[in-house]
Symmetry: C2
């Protein structure tokens, strides 16, 4: 991976619109012109162009003009960065829940731990959780 | 996976803010109170609460009030839905680029295809790309 850090604010903002997600969906199947991207959307060409500009500013989409046609294509590196950010957090959550599950399975049926009977000792720990 | 379709507009919108991503990051390590979530952020408790509400509305975060403390935790199912959406598109792009690469490798050094010499035949195909 190149030293390339997309602006996640802009990437997630770009993906927060259903019309723009439809454009990303279309572009994942291959390059398309701006008018082709707008075809399934009930909006003016100006509005379509604005969405394309948001996608370009986020780094999700690149475009090239040849004559009067602007052809857009997707940048998989940016898609992957956004995916990696989410996957990193999700993996952390799932590992933690797995460990918790294992702990609960191991301790099931065991007598209450010592600290349960000594509230004085856990007061500061409890404070941390507040 | 349960029959659960999070609102991707709201999920990506929630992730489009660096403060909220920091909260998700923190919660992926374990549950936390609202004031704990706000600690690394230079903002009022009211502002922190507003961000927490955006995260809750998106389904990324759940919270529970016990006494005066609201404890937040992350919902990995929502994280996974957002991740899956991006991964689906990214995989499609990469497969397409792989196929294109294979095609180019196979045809490298071969004579020009017939259509390259017959522009008339490809005019309509070219039109499609506009």
């Amino acid at each position: 991976m190149l030293d390339y850090a997309p602006d996640l604010d802009r990437v997630f903002q770009a993906l927060a619109d259903p019309g723009r997600r439809l454009m990303v969906e279309r572009l994942s199947r291959g390059p398309a012109s701006v008018s082709e991207l707008g075809r399934p959307l009930d909006m003016s060409l100006a509005a379509v162009l604005q969405h394309v500009q948001v996608l370009e500013a986020s780094g999700l989409v690149r475009s090239q003009k040849a004559g009067r046609t602007r052809t857009c294509s997707i940048n998989p590196v940016t898609l992957r960065s956004a995916e990696n950010w989410i996957a990193g957090r999700r993996t952390m959550v799932e590992r933690r829940l797995d460990r918790l599950g294992e702990y609960l399975a191991q301790t099931a049926g065991q007598p209450e731990p010592a600290w349960a009977a000594e509230p004085g000792e856990t007061a500061s720990q409890h404070e941390e959780q507040q």
